[in-house]
Amino acid sequence: MKPTIKVTNLSHAFARREVLRNISFTVEKGDFFIIIGPNGSGKTTLMKLLAGILRSRSGEIEILGRSSRRYTPKALARTVAFVPQRLPLEIPYTVEEAVLLGRAPYQGALGIEREIDLEIARQAMQFTGVDHLAGAALDKLSGGEQQRVFIARAICQEPDIMLLDEPTASLDLAHQVRVMDLMEKLEEQKAITVIMVSHDVNLAAMYGDQVLLLKDGEIVCIGPPADVLSFRKLEETYGCRLLVDESPLGRFPRITLVPGRYMDPQLT
């Protein structure tokens, strides 16, 4: 079977600053694929390249066996959905209006919605648990609710692949788990391959099938959480002291930050 995404020798630079260097990896269908790495390691850039928002300077991205350059914007939007980092909202869309926007790749220029679009939007809202908020103003919702609305919008695109850029950032614990569980449900029930950027190594350990560790625009390593999230690799990549043991929940690593006061002053 062809991989869902195949990235070959991908590089990208802004002005003269190189952000990604010779990245190659594949994502198989049904993988929960999580990209982690320190600030400025190129995670978001990689995500935008996969989403078709940026065009790569060199290298190749194949999506479902076809070069991403050969997709029209609409065809790409029917295959890949993207949930960017949350922006402050000023426009009082209702939840339903915002979710319906996800049907645009299937509609004409004026986006005139048919019955089927309304039905798909309704199901997507049910799936992410925001259907009771359909008529509410988006800008009045909590961060976690907004995130679930944006995920519902992305589901409306009926994609094969969903990309999310730090969907759990600035959410409280309950909402973090809820969003991550939702991603797992997407994989299982809708057969959507989920690729996500995260700052949280523990979430990556708990939910990821494959984890890609990025540093300074290069891949440090890629593989199952137990291989990638080792003490040595994480300390080298992030440059801070960590404890890594096995989670009490199961066979995946648990990462604990070590505060400076526990460190031997002679070692630091």
Partner: protein, 336 residues
């Protein structure tokens, strides 16, 4: 339920008919008012072609009042729509052609055109368009690299562009003793009194295709309001769509500026009012801005013609008196 036409189509027809009725009523009022009198009833008779053949009223209505009212409709529609487009593209509800300095840039272009002795169409309009494109490029250069332009910095840069434009305009006015410019101050404040039916027709011919282009992109503007990245990921070709909209909006604004000077704040007042009433869907807002903006400027011009005991004042005075305080209120509200 399944046989119903889509909600948005029903809403579009409903709101557009309502605003069309308002516009017709306002236009009738605009045509009826004036120093040479004429009751609504006799005006109606003239319009229906049943008036007294010896009366002066038909000439006054067809050659003086109607062109002026039509011009107000076109200019009001253009400026409201321009405001709506800039607000969607810059994701900033305080953006407006006048506040951004786009109108000021067009005015510099227009004055240079007048000084070069060009005819109003197409010469002056073309130079005005170049002026607006130059300011647009300046604004985009200042805002580039930021995913969301901070409200304050966008407004500040607009204030600076405007200040620069007015000094250039005053400079140009001072260094020429050209008789062509004796009316310039009046013109700068937004004057609708020079309308003649042929030129209004020409202006309409330039503006109507712009309205159609913008309506065609109205759903893309809906998507853009959620942020550029989200719009792109739902299949919007960002470069083409924003390029088309910015150039079209600047073109139509500069066409109206070269005709009747600087009329400010229409593009702020109308989109805000309509968004409050109708919600954020641009497929409804674009036609509503055209019809409602047209009605608004006819009313402002009506006030400008009838309020002063003698003569009249430029319509831009009225729009600014209404618009500027509203702008301050909105700025204060959005800061919370």
């Amino acid at each position: 339920m399944n046989t119903k036409s889509p909600r948005v189509v029903t809403r579009l027809i409903r709101t557009s008919s309502l605003f069309l009725i308002i516009l017709s009523a306002v236009m009738l009022a605009g045509v009826s008012a004036g120093s040479s009198g004429g009751a609504m009833r006799s005006v109606l008779q003239v319009i229906l072609g049943k008036s007294d053949p010896n009366s002066m009223l038909p000439t006054i209505i067809w050659q003086i009042r109607l062109p002026r009212v039509l011009l107000a409709v076109l200019v009001g529609a253009t400026l409201s729509l321009g405001g709506l487009v800039f607000q969607a593209l810059l994701r900033n509800l305080l953006a407006e052609p006048y506040i951004l300095g786009i109108s000021g840039g067009s005015a510099i272009g227009a004055i240079i055109g007048i000084l070069m002795g060009l005819s109003r169409f197409p010469g002056v309009s073309l130079v005005a368009f170049l002026g607006s494109m130059a300011t647009l490029a300046l604004i985009l250069a200042m805002t580039s690299g930021q995913t969301v332009m901070k409200k304050e910095s966008l407004l500040l840069s607009g204030v600076m562009v405007n200040a620069f434009c007015s000094s250039v305009i005053m400079f140009l006015v001072s260094v020429t003793q050209d008789a062509k410019l004796h009316n310039i101050i009046f013109w700068l404040m937004g004057d609708l009194s020079t309308a003649d039916i042929g030129q209004v027709g020409l202006l309409a011919g330039m503006l109507l295709p712009c309205f159609v282009i913008i309506f065609w992109h109205s759903h893309a503007m809906n998507l853009l309001l959620m942020g550029q990245e989200m719009a792109q990921s739902t299949g919007v070709n960002l470069k083409i769509v924003t390029g088309t909209l910015l150039v079209t909006a600047s073109f139509m604004v500069s066409a109206t500026v070269s005709y009747c000077g600087l009329i400010g704040f229409v593009g702020l007042v109308m989109p805000h009012l309509l968004r409050l009433i109708l919600g954020p869907d641009h497929r409804i807002l674009v036609p509503a801005c055209i019809l409602g903006g047209g009605s608004y400027l006819v009313i402002c011009d009506l006030l400008a013609r009838t309020l002063p005991p003698q003569g009249e004042m430029p319509a831009g005075v009225v729009t600014a008196i209404i618009g500027a305080p509203l702008f301050i209120i909105l700025l204060k509200k959005s800061g919370r």
